[in-house]
């Protein structure tokens, strides 16, 4: 038995599911245990790999049966598993295959080729390559990366920065975390290419404090890779529990040591960003797409995708879903395929009632939206967004008016307070939704009944008037807020109201054949 080599992930999710105890049990049984990155099949964690074959989810008690060849938890060859075989892994090509902090493993799997090619081509040609690839910002806004880089490169300044936004706060997303914990040199290479292309000397990775394992891995990786990426330098900085710091200008203030308040744009961070200097702010997934593009060519990358959304998207399937995990695929796959075919429906076995796409600021979708192709434009046309590509599945026990209230409450808790629609609107939104949910209506208060309040309504407010008020409030937040926190909170609220009116005390939607 001593010859058996077992590969087990040391990703935070595997650890949370008990991977260390399983690894110890294999080691105690005389096996050689190698800790690797996660394949992203989360329902199978802790997953052990022996000679390419997978076993999971394991507990220490299953180890004996696995080694005796008698475990019912075998899934066959991992690489041939439908969940893996159906993917098109460019950014996550190394997932499950390397020791995260091994420079040898990274170099042996095509690491640093993109950086070398960028240095051979020169800065201008590197930016041209990224522009031609059609790569758009993966943080949510979908802004073309090449255009942002061009702006920074052309900005006249001796000091420039590359900032990686790793403040992955959206519920239902974990791709950034998996990159940093499973393939940290990949992100470092992407940042080094960006730094070389725009002429920046210093890079910062801003990681949320809720990701202690990602912070530790990135710090170790940055230290080990320093000679390779020199003269470019990278430093890891840690957030402090503020969701709004995922907004780029708020993140910059936080990096400068200030309250994480949003800045008004313009000036664009590309021209006046960190410490007032030209700054590239890109998401983890944007930067990690770059080494592949540089190594394999822009045309190859652009040949994958759908419409104006080129390349692949690491989609995160989460919530009440049977087969949750990381699914990287070209844009254009439908929402229904992701939730039903790949995700396998709900974990609870009940019918899917709603899926939220794009985190706390994303819209709720009914199953009648399952035909939507996963790309920026199709979702925008359906009054929705793909955001950071997190999909949270809910079964039929969900109350969408409670979810709408949560969206407003979350906005109230996390608002930075700089703009009024977000700071006050979210609190008023919670109050209106509480009234709607309690079906109590609202009588006029003492001020409203004063004789000099000519325009105030004197009678009680009805449910439909409260709904109109909520809709109006959402309009104000959407168009009046400084950033996406206040501006996008109406998406979950209005989509819940639009598709699930019965949860708000209104008549249910009549099934429309066309929609």
């Amino acid at each position: 038995m001593s010859a058996v080599t077992v590969r087990i992930s040391d990703d935070a999710l595997a650890l949370a599911c008990g991977a260390d105890a399983v690894a110890d049990a294999f080691a105690a049984a005389g096996c050689t245990v190698i800790r690797v990155s996660s394949w992203g099949m989360h329902w199978l964690e802790p997953l052990a790999e022996i000679d390419g074959h997978g076993f999971g989810p394991l507990t220490p008690g299953d180890v004996g049966a696995v080694l005796a060849g008698a475990s019912p938890l075998g899934i066959g060859r991992i690489a041939a598993h439908p969940f893996i075989a159906r993917q098109e892994r460019l950014t996550f090509a190394r997932a499950g295959k390397i020791r995260p902090l091994s420079l040898d493993d990274y170099a042996a799997t095509g690491g640093w080729i993109g950086l070398e090619r960028a240095r051979d081509l020169g800065a201008e040609a590197t930016i041209a390559e990224v522009t031609r690839s059609g790569l758009r910002g993966r943080g949510g806004a979908g802004f073309p990366a090449g255009i942002k880089w061009t702006t920074v490169a052309k900005a006249p300044s001796l000091r420039k920065y590359v900032v990686c936004n790793a403040d992955e706060g959206d519920s239902g997303t974990f791709a950034d975390r998996m990159v940093m914990e499973g393939d940290p040199y990949h992100l470092i290479e992407g940042m080094a290419i960006a730094g070389f292309a725009v002429g920046a000397q210093q890079g910062y990775v801003y990681i949320r404090s809720e990701y202690p394992h990602a912070i530790a891995k990135m710090r170790a990786a940055v230290e080990r890779a320093a000679p390779i990426i020199a003269p470019f330098r990278i430093e890891v900085r840690v957030g402090a529990g503020a969701y709004v710091c995922g907004e780029e200008t708020s993140l910059l203030n936080s990096l400068e040591g200030r309250r994480g308040e949003v800045r008004a744009k313009p000036p664009l961070p590309a021209l006046e960003g960190l410490f007032g200097q030209p700054t590239v702010v890109n998401n983890v997934l944007t930067l990690t797409a770059v080494p592949w593009i540089m190594a394999n060519g822009a045309a190859h990358y652009a040949s994958v995708g759908f419409g104006r959304s080129r390349g692949t998207m690491p989609i995160q399937i989460a919530g009440n879903v049977r087969h949750g995990g990381l699914f990287e695929v070209g844009f254009g796959i439908t929402l229904g395929e992701l939730v039903m075919d790949i995700g396998g429906g709900t974990a609870s076995g009940r019918p899917v009632r709603a899926v939220q796409v794009g985190g706390p600021l994303g819209a709720y979708h009914p199953p009648s939206d399952f035909h939507l192709p996963f790309d920026y434009e199709s979702f925008a046309a359906a009054d929705a967004l793909i955001g950071h590509a997190g999909i949270t599945v809910f079964d039929d026990t969900v109350d969408l008016s409670a979810q709408a209230r949560f969206a407003m409450q979350f906005c109230a808790v996390e608002s930075c307070g700089k703009c009024t629609p977000c700071r006050i609107g979210s609190t008023r939104g919670v109050e209106v939704l509480d009234r709607i949910r309690a079906r109590t209506g609202r009588v006029a208060d003492r001020v409203e009944t004063l004789p000099q309040m000519h325009n105030a309504k004197k009678g009680a407010r009805t449910l439909s008037e409260d709904i109109a008020l909520l809709t109006d409030l959402c309009e104000t937040m959407k168009f009046g807020s400084l950033c996406a926190l206040g501006g996008f909170t109406p998406y979950p609220v209005l989509s819940a109201l639009r598709w699930f009116p019965e949860d708000f005390g209104l008549p249910a939607r009549v099934q429309e054949a066309a929609e």
């Binding site: 935070a12 519920s171 950034d176 809720e210 503020a242 919530g319 974990a347 706390p360």
Partner: protein, 142 residues
């Protein structure tokens, strides 16, 4: 918890001297060393960074991770975000109503959204929680 000696604070401030945007890294170190960022620390940090005490206080009070007083009880951070809600997180949180030995703090997402409900104690992560496992977790820290 270490007593708040000026030498420890001085050591933290010296370690970050000259760093750009040093305030958050300093506050993280102070919070980790003393369990809170107290009045004395705010004064010293303000003096070291040439900021007003109000500016430092404004930053401390903005971020959820920094506390002006030490936590009176062990803290369990229980995820209350959408993906954990979809997996029964709210009902799970309700089972801890009336628990007085530990402080249950909400956290909005630990990035383990496919295996919730999840919790974090210190840097340790706990997934696939049900009432029994959460109760065992409470017993282990209380």
């Amino acid at each position: 918890m270490a007593p708040m000696t000026p030498t420890e604070l001085d050591r933290i401030l010296a370690a970050h001297a000259g760093r750009e945007g040093a305030l958050l890294p300093i506050l993280h170190d102070v919070q980790a060393a003393f369990g809170h960022v107290g009045e004395e620390a705010v004064r010293a940090i303000a003096a070291a960074l040439n900021l007003s005490r109000a500016e430092v206080h404004g930053v401390v009070s903005f971020y959820h991770d920094f506390h002006e007083t030490p936590a009176p009880r062990p803290v369990i951070k229980l995820c209350r975000a959408e993906s954990c809600q979809a997996r029964g997180g709210e009902a799970l949180a309700a089972t801890l109503a009336g628990e007085t030995r530990v402080t249950i703090e909400p956290v909005y997402c630990l990035g383990l959204c496919s295996v919730g409900p999840n919790a974090m104690v210190g840097d340790g992560l706990h997934a696939r929680l049900d009432a029994a496992r959460l109760s065992a977790l409470v017993e282990s820290v209380a």
